[in-house]
């Protein structure tokens, strides 16, 4: 028995996440606790070889100063002291300059760049035409009979970012759903509304130079989603986003 065709249109949408590249800054309690743990570890420890060597050399220096230079300074060989080694290591560390945690894209607030907010998740938003409105949405495509919803979402991603995108999709099941009815003018018996099923994927490739066919795209964090998405849509999307 063939089932009667349902009046809902199906869409598959992809929530593409760029995972954080650097660690988030520590909270106040976390910093205090880390300092305390370091202190306790120091108190419970014994002297290491390097520290013993340092202590002995300090003793020798002190004795030499007190006894006014009358034991073995004849040979004249240059002995490397532990203190000198420490200073050398410190200088070497100072000479190394790491990449900054706050990038240029952060400072300019360039929301199309992937280098922004390296300690947070970034997700892709594109501008799509729904009905007669241009809206900011997660990339979505209409479901064609004969494919699973996951492949619909993959197709949606491919239309906006090209075929060479490497993303790990997390499973076959949808993560969330947004159901809406068409406005009364468009609504008919067979065409009540649409259901958008969301899928999640992690972005694997770090550069998207060949991609970005569509001009209007943004990479935003979870807090900035509110600037672009409608309230009902935002509520459903926020349910399956961890931050």
């Amino acid at each position: 028995t063939a089932a009667a065709p349902r009046p809902w249109k199906l869409f598959g949408a992809m929530c593409l996440l760029r995972l954080p590249r650097i660690t988030q800054p520590l909270e106040k309690e976390e910093e205090e606790m880390a300092a305390l743990m370091g202190q306790i570890e120091l108190e419970k420890s014994h002297y290491s070889d390097h520290e013993i060597r340092k202590l002995e050399e300090e003793e020798q220096l002190r004795r030499r100063k007190e006894s006014a230079y009358d034991d073995d300074e004849g040979p004249g060989k240059t002995v490397i002291m532990a203190q000198d080694l420490e200073e050398k290591w410190e200088q070497k560390l100072q000479r190394f300059k790491a990449a900054p945690r706050v990038t240029d894209a952060d400072k300019e607030n360039n929301r199309t760049s992937l280098n922004r907010k390296l300690d947070r998740n970034l997700m892709l938003l594109v501008k799509q035409k729904i009905g007669n409105q241009e809206l900011w949405l997660l990339p979505q495509a209409e479901w064609q009979p004969g494919e699973t919803l996951r492949s619909t979402a993959e197709r949606a991603m491919a239309t906006f970012l090209g075929d060479h995108i490497q993303a790990k999709i997390l499973g076959n099941a949808p993560y969330g759903i947004y159901k809406y009815k068409f406005p009364r003018a468009v609504r008919t018996e067979d065409n009540v509304g649409a259901k958008v099923f969301f899928f999640k994927a992690f972005l694997q490739s770090s550069d998207l130079s060949q991609a970005e066919l569509k001009k209007d795209y943004l990479w935003v964090t979870k807090d900035e989603l509110g600037d672009y998405l409608k309230s009902e849509y935002l509520k459903k999307v926020n349910r399956f986003l961890l931050d």
Partner: protein, 186 residues
């Protein structure tokens, strides 16, 4: 006159004295000068040797295998020297108080963090269940495709975040790592 084994006249060259003529085949099998040792004695001796070896192997296998020492659990003796004990002033009352209060605050912080994580996971699962329910209402076939296990998902590997982003064009210093871990075989 000179002795020479070299005869002036041409003589048909014979490879070995068993070959009576060049064209005839070997008349008899080449036999060693002394009579051959009897085969039985050799076989017995070899069998006895093999049995002795097998007995030794069985004895070794029966003995319990020696335990592999875990190097991390054995403190080398040079670190139990009393000279190595650190000399620090004892903790003041304020310091111990501060530590205890900090531990309590930490406890609360971690509890809140854990609760928040669990609540987030709960909403995640609920949202997914809702989506699957709606999908089932739509079409059974799509629902079955959605709840099928994704074989390519695990093993899932990912490198964790570092403290600073990678420096473009960084040339790490050269060096060779020589592994000196002791490998024990049982």
């Amino acid at each position: 006159f000179f002795l020479s084994s070299w005869l002036p006249q041409t003589v048909p060259c014979r490879g070995s004295h068993w070959q009576s003529s060049l064209l005839a085949l070997r008349a008899s099998l080449p036999v060693r000068a002394q009579p051959k040792k009897k085969k039985k004695v050799d076989v017995k001796r070899e069998q006895a040797q093999k049995d002795r070896m097998k007995k030794k192997i069985r004895k070794l296998e029966k003995a319990a295998p020696e335990m592999i020492p875990i190097e991390d659990f054995i403190t080398p003796l040079k670190y139990s020297d009393s000279k190595r004990v650190r000399s620090l002033p004892p903790l003041s009352f304020e310091e111990t108080e501060r530590r205890v209060l900090l531990m309590k605050r930490w406890c609360l912080f971690k509890q809140k963090q854990d609760k928040a994580e669990k609540a987030a996971i709960q909403t995640l699962v609920e949202a997914q269940q809702e989506a699957l329910k709606e999908l089932r209402l739509e079409s059974e076939e799509l629902y079955q495709a959605a709840i099928r296990r994704d074989e390519g998902l695990f093993p899932f590997e990912r490198e964790g975040p570092n403290y600073t982003p990678p420096l473009p064009g960084y040339d790490p210093p050269e060096g060779k790592c020589i592994d000196i871990t002791k490998v024990y075989t049982q």
